[in-house]
């Protein structure tokens, strides 16, 4: 492999903290990761499934109800054509950015600490995108005609409107899901081979064997595999940036005050990374506690770095919020000024949703500031709490953007309040059920940590490492 390609070697001269603590061996990595999958089903897992799967079922029932009766079972109205549905969509798709970002961007920038978290983060991405995809699909009034979105030649000789940001969304989200799935699957192949080779039961051998596609770990395979992985990482990086940019175009290309803003693409991408990392930590911190075997792979160093990213992206998002206010003030457009200063920030008490704006401000901008302190970054509980704030705050960011702009727009005569319906709330709750159920299944049946990649960063993996084996 040439120098230009990725190097898995830890430069000896930079004496970094090891990414796998306690100088474990390759064998240890295999044993520990696989033991999660191959040990008997733990009781807590069954219990957790018993909680999450009924919630997912409630969500599905709500979706069936909504499709059979109409969008009216939600709280949307005129003028609030979108509300929770697109809020939830953007919320989930934002979360779905961290996985690919960790996998791709950190891979390209040779942030090797990513190896222990990227698998779970990618899985989280996929499940989040699944949850995200539900909303735009069911929010349409006639789901059964959603195929009109596909550019299929038809006897009506009519085509979709390629100028519509919603159609861009269709392409972006489906491409993103496809590429993320492939990326995740490609990364899984060697690990599935490991599981295949360790499995005792015939069924497991066959199932993992099918997944592993007959992987033999030969260097001729590794050669193309690494190139494919690198290319996918290279493709995913602009993809991940484009997807949330395109999602932001839904708003940025419109003419609504508060939506029509050129700052949206970078602001949304930063927000997505922010929210995504918070969700990764939300999942990984408890997982590291539940599986002590992972503790040496998900180290304080990981948490520290992710907290720093939260601080950085949170501050970028905060900058964007302030810049919006500045532009609204500087632009002297009374409609925009009203949206930002009255409908959102509520400087004179006429705003309807100012609570949403200030929740967003506090959660997204203020709360991560504690990560300036190393102590806070090292405190798992503090990190976890801030992550929850960020999860809430990012949801409210989307709610603020969507609902405040629609509820109080140009003509005061058409202003209208919005309140969610029970069905709407349960549908959103249901997506958490779907998300966590899928994640639990993933934890139970697939390696949560990229085994081969972690092996690659063990001291032993270095061909020049002279430490005797065992």
């Amino acid at each position: 492999m040439s120098k230009s390609s990725v190097s898995l070697e830890t430069p000896a001269e930079l004496k970094r903290e090891p990414l796998v603590a306690n100088n474990h061996s390759i064998k240890w990595v295999t044993e520990n990761v696989c033991s999660i999958v191959q040990s008997p089903t733990p009781k807590w897992w069954l219990l957790a499934m018993c909680i999450t799967s009924p919630i997912a079922l409630i969500g599905l029932i709500c979706i069936v109800y909504q499709i059979s009766n109409g969008v009216g079972v939600w709280g949307e109205n005129h003028p609030n054509g979108w509300a929770w549905d697109i809020t939830n969509f953007v919320f989930w798709i934002g979360i779905g950015h961290a996985g690919t970002l960790i996998s791709a961007v950190l891979f390209l920038t040779r942030q090797k600490w990513r190896t222990s978290i990227n698998r779970a983060a990618e899985a989280m991405t996929l499940f989040a995108v699944v949850c995200a995809g539900i909303f735009p699909a069911i929010h349409v009034g006639r789901v059964w005609y959603a195929w009109f979105l596909a550019p299929i030649p038809n006897t009506n000789a009519i085509w979709p409107n390629f100028r519509s940001p919603l159609l861009w969304d269709v392409f972006a989200v489906s491409t993103y899901f496809t590429v993320s799935l492939l990326f995740w699957f490609v990364g899984l192949i060697p690990d599935l081979a490991t599981l295949r080779d360790r499995s005792k039961s015939r069924i497991a051998q066959i199932l993992y064997g099918i997944g592993a596609l007959g992987w033999r770990g030969s260097n001729k395979q590794w050669r193309h595999y690494e190139m494919a992985y690198l290319l996918l990482a290279g493709l995913s990086t602009p993809l991940v940036l484009s997807v949330h940019s395109i999602v932001s175009f839904d708003f940025a290309t419109s003419i609504m005050p508060g939506w029509h803003t050129t700052i949206f693409p970078p602001y949304f991408v930063a927000g997505a990374i922010f929210g995504g990392f918070a969700m990764v930590l939300t999942i990984m911190l408890p997982a590291a506690q539940i599986f002590p075997q992972l503790a040496d792979m998900i180290t304080r160093q990981h948490v520290d770095k992710m907290a720093k990213i939260l601080l950085l992206t949170g501050s970028i998002v905060g900058y964007a919020y302030l810049m919006e206010l500045f532009v609204a003030w500087y632009g002297v457009n009374k409609f925009e000024g009203f949206t930002f200063f009255i409908a959102r920030a509520n400087v004179d008490g006429k705003g309807w949703y100012q609570w949403s704006y200030w929740i967003m401000m506090f959660c997204n901008v203020i709360s991560p500031q504690i990560f300036w302190f190393k102590k806070m970054r090292a405190n798992y509980i503090a990190v976890f709490i801030v992550c929850q704030f960020v999860n809430v705050g990012m949801w409210f960011e989307r709610f603020t953007i969507i609902v405040t702009s629609l509820a109080q727009d140009f003509l005061p005569s058409s202003w209208g309040h919005y309140a969610p319906s029970t069905t709407e709330i349960l549908t959103f709750v249901g997506t958490f059920g779907i998300f966590f159920s899928l994640f639990l299944l993933f934890m139970r049946f697939l390696p949560m940590v990229a085994i081969s990649e972690v092996k690659g960063v063990t001291p032993e993996a270095d061909p020049h490492h002279n430490h005797p084996k065992h």
């Binding site: 009766n69 969008v71 005129h78 009034g141 006639r142 979709p160 058409s414 202003w415 309140a419």
Partner: protein, 1058 residues
Amino acid sequence: MSKRILQHPAESTTGKRYWRSLGQLQDTPEFRSWMDREFPQGAAEIQGDDVSRRGFLQFMGASVALAGLSLSACRRPLKNLVPFTKGVEWSVPGKALFFTSAMPSRNGAMPLVVTTFDGRPTKIEGNPMHPVNQGTTDVWAQSSILDLYDPQRSKGYLFGRKPSDAASFEKALGELLKGTPDGAGLAFLTDGTVSPTQERLRAEVLKKFPKAVWASFEPNGSELEASAVSAAFGPGHHAVPVLQKADIILTVDRDILGVEGDIAAIRGFAAGRKADKAGTKMNRLYVVENRYTLTGGMSDHRLRLAASRSGAFLKALALQVAKLAGDAGLAKAASELKVAETKIKDRWVEECAADLVAHKGAALVLVGQRQPAAVQALGFAVNAALGGLGTTLELRKTAATPALSISALAEELRKGKTSALFILGGNPVFNAPADVRWADAQGAVKTVVHLSLESNETSVAAQWHVPAAHYLEQWGDALAVDGSHMVVQPVIMPLYNGLSSIELLAKVVGTEPDALALVQKTFVEAFSTQADLTSFWAKSLKAGFVEGSRASAVTPALQVDAVAKACAEASAVRVVENTFELVFITDSKVDDGRYANNGWLQELPDPITKLTWDNAALLSPAAAKKLAVETGDVLKLSVGEKSVEIAALVLPGHADDSISVAVGYGRTEVGSVGRKVGVDVFPLLTAAEGRFRVGVTAAKTGRKYALAVTQEHGALEGRGADITRQSTKQEWAENEANPDYFLKMGIDAHAPANFSLYTNPPLDDIHAWGMTVDLNSCIGCAACMTACQAENNIPIVGKEQVIGGREMHWMRTDRYFASEGGDADEPEMVSQPMMCQHCENAPCETVCPVNATVHSEDGLNVMAYNRCIGTRYCANNCPFKVRRFNFFDYNERSITSLYKWNLISDKGMPESLQMQKNPNVTVRMRGVMEKCTFCVQRIQEAKITSKVHAGDSGVQPRVPADVFTSACAQVCPTDAIVFGDLRNPDSKVAKLNKDQRSYRLLEYLNTQNRVSYLARIRNPNLKMPDAARAGSASKDAHGHHGEHQQPAAPKATNGGHA
């Protein structure tokens, strides 16, 4: 529709029962005569089509029969085409036929042209040939088509609330009349509509039964005005204001442009209000009223004053007028009037009186019909002093013969000597004044026969209920506002075999109950001087009215002493301090409750309050503060021993010591639409005190009630100069030479010129459709909304959905309360019709992912429902929020079962309602977006006609200027909405579009709207104390705006879930 209707036995109970089936009638003489009448001869057929879309219900039950799959038709279900056996003249399948008719009402019948498709009326328009309305109509005429098809209309005779039939009724009627050869013990009660034939039959009835008693009752009628007129001018007259001749108009507690006026008054006012160019003559309107009305909304100067204090105002004004005009008689009469102690703004009265006197001969003072007769008589005296008699105030001989009042009739009935009472229309059990105790009185009668369209409170208290024929179902006649004789022509056979009142009277008299013959007999008697009566009848029927039959004015002298006497004799209106007066207002929608089961009316937002599906206690912000209530808090209104509980609605501009409440709500015996809607306040209304009552106490109950208000926000938020541009006559004159005067207001005064990187694709059709809305003429009556609803098959959604913000009206009339400096008590009111602006650069189009909404070359923003998947993105991106989404299947599902699981709830529209649907407009399903189309079905029809006419002549097909218009423009009583071809220089819209007042909304967005608004011009008297306020809310003030914000209905707490 699995059964073939054609083979139905006549008695079928499962098929359509709304019209007579072929099997029932095919060989009977009635059928032949009916066929001859409806379609005298010729050939036609009905083409099968699906009722769900085109509502194309087949005439006589001929129908598409879905016979399932057969071998020869394995690819699709078999459908049949069923032609007539014999053609019917004039009837061309798929083409509309138009008939003249008239809608009777107490204010004078509305001349109409009824559109029918294949035998079913679908739309009502004004008669363009009649001088009174010139093609325009009002809310009630527009929605009366729905009453015709009301699925819960009375469908048969009831005896003792049990189904009976016509034969039993005939028999019972015969026995009733046999018992009283001289009519002793017979009583008749009619409503206030005036029909020459009914008058003639009344005379015949009274001739045959001389001892019979005849009474008439209109809950919102004008008896007090009648007695005032007879006091001032002698009996047998009635007064008609001629607003087009008045330069200065003062109304005192009189909503002449709203529920207390008629279309002639509205058109007269609008004619005097035209602002064609700067400096043109324009009338000035002073309004004294207790609550905002449409009249108040149009005012140049408005004084808030309780109705009980209006007399005091009029007295002060009359004294001032007498002083300025030197009229001693008036001064004497005025000084005799005893009024409540009231503080009146002196300068307001002085300057107003000075203005009136300065325009002697062209000034008009109108006093409210609820005011005591003496006050109204004094009003006539003021008009006489101002030289208005014969010019601005015309007097005519009344057509109706005097009748007993309902109080007198009730007394008569209570004597227990009445054996039979015939109630022809009306619902006195519900809406007679409380002190009449009508229910008791009616109970004292042995046999009560009640004729009405629906089985109502009076029907269930009567022995016999007779289903009435809708006015579109039976021949009749009526008088228009100007007194002209009109024939009410039926356009469909009675759907449920209803009787008209003249048929019933004919039965009583014992003549043949043939409505046509009865009407023709009246006609012959009235116009016996005509040489050829047959062709005169035909000509009049075609025109819809008898030309030259307009009532002529008479000029009786004012009997000023009689006025003074009346003033002296009248007792003073009491004013009880620290209580409220309660003003009973005629509802702009359900009237006195008669239209309660009309969904279009129930869902039509009140023009002032924007309230639907309810009435409410209207009170001022100050009064609300005093009572510590806000909109939605339930108030207990008590007077004497009676009280009602009703939700408060805070209305800016209301008098502080007054509460207004609309009557006609809270019906109990009514179809499902009107049931449990609003609160009945008739228990508080007494004949003794009339339609306002003093000494009412209001108390907060602590309960909340959800009001369905369609416009949550009434303030302009400093956007008046952007949205509703206004100026005053004086300021406009100063800026006459500035073409940008109205263009550069608000943000458009600051925004840089629009600049596009694109070259827009050419909209190069020979036509360019556009619309102008003249805010100076628009009174905000919402007739356009109803017309749009009728024309475009717009469903109603129900109160819950309106609260959820899902009303479907394609157009709305926005009503703003605005005032500079945030004066909550004295705001100005502005109405603005708002519909799709048909932007040439339409923001909705680019965001649609499936090309369901695109632009046509003639400039329409078109919507292909069948392509729409319902993302609602277009609605979000519409700056005017005029797009409407079908959140549920409002057409197919009952508004009460929207939240039931679709799998278990019933679907389908009642068949009679399907008959109303416009066959040229798609009935939209759930999940699709819809919006104003500029009545594209009419555009296409006009274009097609022009192409067919062009044929192969080689002439460029082009729709001539103004040969058709949109439904909203057609109905508009003030011609404020004008639609047409902008590319045709001859069209009205092209000319108005170039008007200096023309501006487009949110021009800075560069949406290039095809709808433009003409700025409103106010004509304040600069000497008045409040002159500076006129139009100030729409001026481009920087930083110190403030409008009063109407407290919103608690919408958010009622999100749309079950």
